[in-house]
Symmetry: C2
Subunit: 252 residues, 2 copies
């Protein structure tokens, strides 16, 4: 059989629909889809994605659990709507003049989004819901790398590299945050408590470089890593590489 159009598309693009098929009879809904999605985002931001259960969300909204299903087909679709809503609500600043500044802005904006909503990178891997928020974001990103000599495919790949890098930094930061929340101690305290045991367990194996580098990181950051330093260093290298390619596509 021919595949049916994806039903979640109509929900993602619900705001563009001038008139749904005019069903004016029957009881009115007490909330809107946006109310539900915004509340879900709030819960996920506050308590994490696992704590976002249909029952909890319904309680938060003051409705019965099953009433949610009159707004949203299911939890999977709700997550897709949440992701697009986050993109839709996030302001996209005007693209600055220089290429380096534009590339940095693309990456920092995406990092900011992923950092504000740490569940976002987890949700985005689940399904690629093409909604207005993601579409506007992508168009905005492309406008930052248009007209600089890259072909269409290279524009897409450039944006993909920047987004992937920004999401990766956000994920690495989120991993530290979750570890601290789960264990109840800061990463520095964890290391203090576990370093002796770890040294005992590692006995026999040699990690000269890891030891040296880890010690330096610990001194500098009071932690095993510093996402903001990673962001700055990595972003500078990536931008250097892209700019070099734009200026001299044939080298080296």
């Amino acid at each position: 059989m021919a595949p049916q159009p994806d039903p979640v598309l109509r929900l993602l693009w619900r705001h563009g629909l001038d008139e749904p098929p005019k069903p004016r009879r029957g009881r009115r809904q007490s909330l809107t889809v946006d109310d539900v999605v915004d509340a879900a985002i709030k819960v996920a931001d506050r308590d994490g994605l696992d704590a976002l259960t249909m029952r909890q969300l319904a309680t938060e909204l003051g409705i019965g659990a099953m009433s949610l299903y009159t707004y949203v087909p299911g939890r999977k679709e709700l997550l897709a709507l949440m992701a697009d809503q986050v993109f839709r609500r996030h302001p996209l600043p005007a693209m600055p003049g220089g290429l380096r500044a534009r590339l940095a802005l693309i990456a920092r904006t995406h990092y900011g989004i992923c950092h504000e909503h740490p569940w976002l990178t987890d949700v985005m891997v689940l399904q690629n819901g093409i909604g207005p928020g993601l579409s506007d974001l992508y168009e905005w990103q492309l406008s930052g790398v248009d007209g600089i000599g890259l072909d269409d495919l290279e524009m897409d790949q450039t944006v993909a590299v920047l987004m992937g890098f920004a999401a990766g930094i956000a994920r690495s930061q989120e991993r530290m945050r979750r570890a601290e929340r789960a264990s109840g101690v800061s990463e520095a305290e964890w290391w203090e408590a576990n370093a002796p045991e770890l040294g005992r367990l590692m006995a026999g194996r040699e990690y000269p470089l890891s030891g040296r580098v880890g010690a330096a990181a610990g001194m500098a950051y009071q932690a095993s890593a510093d996402p903001s330093a990673e962001l700055e260093f990595g972003l500078a290298r990536i931008i250097d590489g892209i700019v070099a390619y734009v200026e001299h596509p044939d080298r080296p």
Copy 2:
């Protein structure tokens, strides 16, 4: 109270322990922790992380569900063991001569690992279990960027950029794979089925760049994106940026 040493550490480093505290009484275990972890990896590779339930894994191993808890404290810890086991089992080739080749090898190796075990990036964000597999990998990665003029922090950040990039590509590929598995149609078929509806829903909004770039990508890849092209392009740019920094740390 002083935080207790993390109990999962002893499990992660179980192979280095010469002798556990000699509990020689009582019934023998019919399996090893490695058996359990390897079977869990097999299930997760085959059916995905959600399908890896304690009951399913126990059935696969021919034991009762609750017997698993004599090998592993719980599912969370099992996931951490799986991640480290994947790293531990993956061969780490000798570092080649040139810097560019070493950087590429670091990224491609990590991409390969994440690609073979698509649940890995999901698991790694859950907790930072420092086991022998990850430690060996990190030491190996650092050996690829040692002695080239980077300081300790820059070495760590360089490795982090490469790993994050590789993981990001693997995640983007995994998103496409999951969408295809969930919908049952290839991405090309999805677009064919949804393009008309999507065009209708997007009416009123203009996406000139997205449209142009998306069409070019569709022509070139028969899909909206091609992870291997993203990998090649992005890796080349990142390596360019790192090499440029190594050679001229002061230039922009």
